[in-house]
Symmetry: C2
Subunit: 229 residues, 2 copies
């Protein structure tokens, strides 16, 4: 998931102190992205052609593909900057802190500030993008698989590098479980936001869920579901 700001197309720095040529590029990129997201939100991802976006952006089709490698990147592009976040959190954690604790604390902090990457954001643009993703199978697939999976690979590499025992299997499993927990949590938060609930109202439950999730990863499933049911 990891849906981020959504307003940053390549750059958050809109400094006008640039070679004048860069400014135009940034502006057109933003214009294209904005028209695309608007059109998508109005009529759905598959119901809007790239040619249409190009026309509405007063730009040729080629230019669109010049800025965004594919149609999907018009929606998902901005998110891909945060791929290495989990790995970075683990790398930069305080000494003596476990991997689980580091990621838990980071996630809880992110929740507290309604970071879109947690799914707990009711900003209009973010909501539009999230709704779009959940409504479009191709996008949903690419966020979970292509994206979350890459992050998992990075995390596994980081864990392996730090694991004194150099146990690859454990590193991969740990990464998989931690990312799975994150993904589950963000997914739940996003779905909740899509129902129209305000982020602040959902915060307590989200915090609780996050704590429980990481606790589960930490202590395991045990004999879950072994009841004589």
């Amino acid at each position: 998931m990891e849906t981020r700001t959504g307003t940053d197309v390549g750059l958050d720095l809109d400094l006008d102190a640039l070679p004048l040529r860069e400014r135009k590029k940034i502006r057109t990129a933003r214009r294209i992205w904005r028209t695309a997201v608007t059109l998508f939100a109005e009529r759905g991802f598959d119901q809007v052609s790239v040619a249409e976006i190009a026309a509405a952006s007063e730009v040729s089709k080629m230019t669109v593909f010049n800025y965004f490698p594919s149609k999907e990147d018009l929606v998902l592009g901005p998110m891909e900057h945060h791929l290495d976040e989990p790995a970075r959190v683990v790398r930069e954690r305080a000494a003596g802190t476990s991997a689980v604790a580091a990621l838990r604390e980071q996630f809880l902090s992110a929740l507290a500030v309604f970071d879109p990457a947690t799914g707990l954001s009711d900003q209009q643009v973010v909501l539009d993008v999230v709704r779009l993703i959940h409504r479009t199978p191709a996008l949903l697939m690419r966020t979970t698989a292509g994206f979350d999976h890459q992050a998992q690979a990075l995390l596994a590499a980081e864990l392996l590098a730090q694991d004194p025992a150099h146990d690859e299997l454990t590193a991969q499993l740990a990464a998989a479980q931690l990312m799975a927990a994150r993904l589950t949590l963000t997914g739940r938060n996003q779905r909740r936001m899509l129902t129209g609930e305000r982020a602040e109202d959902a915060l307590p439950a989200a915090l609780d869920a996050a704590r429980r999730a990481f606790a589960l990863v930490e202590r395991g499933l045990g004999d879950y579901c072994a009841g004589t049911a």
Copy 2:
């Protein structure tokens, strides 16, 4: 992952006791599938066009799409039959058995018989398909995301149905972690098979890895990676 037999195109039953017309359909389906996989294995997924497959199969392009909804399904189609396996295993487990134990035992059994779904199979056709999937990002993504994720959803639903406490979060998390473990294991096995190792030789290590993986899910990560490294 969950790569299955690979030889079953829609039907494993090649009974000739069918309405004579069905036989032709099955035969052409198999022919198309076989030519496709062969061509893919020779030159790569993206380097073979559907038109080419159609020509080589002595069939029109439309006919190919008639049998297989998309080009990707030419490779992945046969696997989609086993989506509900994890959910079924949990549903049909012996009373008093935990979800983890049920899935662990099933996986270990599947390993012992070199079930392709475990990744531990060195059958030629299976290897071809697996190699193809790992070499083609689009295919890899769809197997992990589209496929494994659906299985996870089914498993979560099953767990929720059986969880006396009706705790949705726990069910989702448990499903996510169990599927993540499975996916990690099958991925490792597949990669190992791709190196040319014989399945029988890799069996002991695979069994050990599986036991450790499920044990980790059962007992949690604890303070993993908390060493003062």
